[in-house]
């Protein structure tokens, strides 16, 4: 599992950027290790008839391999996160004390930040090249948590953390909020839990909502980006419920044929580089391949969410839900130019 933001913060602090190191950080680190113990527990439960969880040895070991790389690159690049946040904090607008109420506030705001970070990570190929690694397994279990990007700090989306520090939230509070958010998301990567109580499903992210998020069925693509509070998806029109009549097919639209962690971590960058080097492209086309939605093509033969939904709807002769707003970014991308 990836080093928590808290641990990264501690390392950053010791490098000469002295700031308080709350005891909560140690609690977050302990919680992280305890959560890892849930993986063998799920495997053991799944070996009986009552619980559903599909593990495969190669897939699980690939997840661990990707995790090792993710931890390594987070360790050497986390200064980008903390450097930006502490710089912004040094030029803050307000002095917001690190108290229980300010933590609740920063937690809610950081969760909104997470929603947009996640949504951008799915809608633009440069960011998808980083985040898509987490979606590349065709299995869905607690070990899927381990399959994390190697390049999330490098992609540039760490800048989304800066505004909270600029407002005046302490970097330690931001790091703790980020860590608690990621720790919450651990338990939702499972098939062993069907549904939570109705109020819980309405308010919070759950295994059911997150299964949809990991689905490659056209109906489920680009939906349920929430970290903790499901209200962001409901508010911004990206919520899609899990349907009993449509089992989730996990993975990518075009799945990988490898368990090699390096290929898993870098596959979309290689595909993007190949697309960018196609002969005869205009700069507008190159921008489309770089920033357009995943599946965008310069010749108009898109495999974007909107195109896949349209094809599925035509095949079935029914309309698929249009609320998952992938369609909007697709329309934006077609403005980048196509030659059909």
């Amino acid at each position: 599992m990836r080093t928590s933001a808290c641990a990264g913060y501690s390392a950053y602090k010791r490098s000469g950027h002295g700031m308080p190191d709350p005891v909560y950080f140690q609690a977050a680190a302990i919680a992280q290790v305890l959560l890892l113990l849930l993986i063998p527990l799920e495997i053991l439960l799944a070996s009986g008839p009552r619980f559903k969880a599909e593990y495969d040895t190669h897939d699980t070991l690939a997840n661990v391999g990707v995790s090792v790389g993710s931890v390594f690159f987070w360790g050497i690049l986390s200064w980008l996160f903390f450097g930006g946040v502490t710089f912004a904090y040094a030029h803050r607008c307000f002095d917001i004390p690190f108290t229980w109420w300010s933590f609740l506030l920063v937690f809610a705001l950081d969760d909104c930040r997470y929603y947009w970070w996640h949504r951008i990570g799915h809608r633009s190929r440069w960011f998808w090249a980083s985040h898509g690694v987490h979606h590349s397994s065709q299995h869905f279990n607690l070990s899927t948590n381990l399959r994390q990007s190697w390049t999330s700090e490098f992609s540039g989306l760490v800048l989304l953390n800066v505004p909270l520090a600029w407002i005046g939230f302490h970097p330690a509070a931001i790091a703790l909020a980020f860590s608690v958010n990621l720790l919450y998301q651990f338990w939702i990567h499972t098939e062993t839990i069907d549904r939570m109580p109705r109020w819980f499903e309405w308010l919070l992210n759950t295994p059911s909502h997150h299964r949809v998020h990991h689905g490659s069925n056209p109906r489920y693509l680009d939906a349920n980006y929430a970290g903790v509070f499901m209200i962001w998806d409901r508010l911004f029109g990206t919520f899609v419920p899990e349907q009993a009549d449509e089992p989730v097919r996990y993975g990518l639209v075009k799945n990988l044929g490898t368990f090699n962690p390096v290929r898993i971590a870098l596959h979309e960058y290689v595909a993007m580089a190949r697309d960018l080097m196609r002969p005869g492209l205009t700069w507008k086309h190159r921008m489309g391949y770089f920033f357009g939605p995943p599946g965008w093509r310069h010749d108009g033969r898109h495999a974007t969410t909107a195109a896949l939904r349209a094809a599925e709807a035509q095949r079935r002769g029914v309309a698929l839900p249009a609320e998952a707003a992938g369609d909007k970014s697709d329309r934006l991308a077609t403005g980048l130019g196509t030659t059909t």
């Binding site: 080093t3 090792v68 931890v71 993975g251 990988l256 044929g257």
Partner: protein, 141 residues
């Protein structure tokens, strides 16, 4: 750096522990094709318009499909507990050769799916598929 070293060590330790548990509980490694109709059905889940005849590998972990349209070959390959389907058109196969007496080894021009191998015991069937796949490669070359 100590946090980084500890985190990596925790991951490696976790990997070893999970490998032990997965082996102990004999998890996974269960997906096998029961027959040609199943291979065609699984292939059609990813390519709904596809239809043709399937040849199963001896180990039931992959199948080659002679598709009715476009001169394409379909490949169905086990990936963990799931199945990957792929249309092999001219340009998809960079190399097709015999790895040993009964195994065809295919290399693809694809970073995310670089190679695969298919074991076919029947010599005539194996040779026919090898020629078809090499022809696909020759068309590209």
């Amino acid at each position: 750096m100590s946090e980084l070293a500890i985190s990596i060590a925790v991951n490696v330790g976790l990997g070893i522990a999970l490998l032990g548990i997965l082996r102990w509980k004999r998890v996974g490694d269960t997906a096998r094709l029961a027959g040609a109709p199943e291979a065609i059905e699984l292939f059609a889940r990813q390519f709904p318009a596809a239809a043709g005849e399937a040849t199963l590998a001896d180990d039931g972990q992959s199948a080659l499909l002679e598709l009715n349209s476009d001169g394409c070959i379909g490949l169905l390959q086990r990936h963990g507990r799931r199945w990957n389907a792929r249309m092999l058109a001219a340009g998809e196969v960079s190399s097709a050769e015999l790895k040993d007496a009964s195994t065809i080894k295919l290399k693809f021009d694809d970073f995310a799916w670089p190679h695969t191998q298919i074991r076919i015991g029947d010599a005539d069937v194996r040779l026919r598929w090898l020629q078809r796949l090499q022809a696909l490669r020759a068309r590209h070359a």
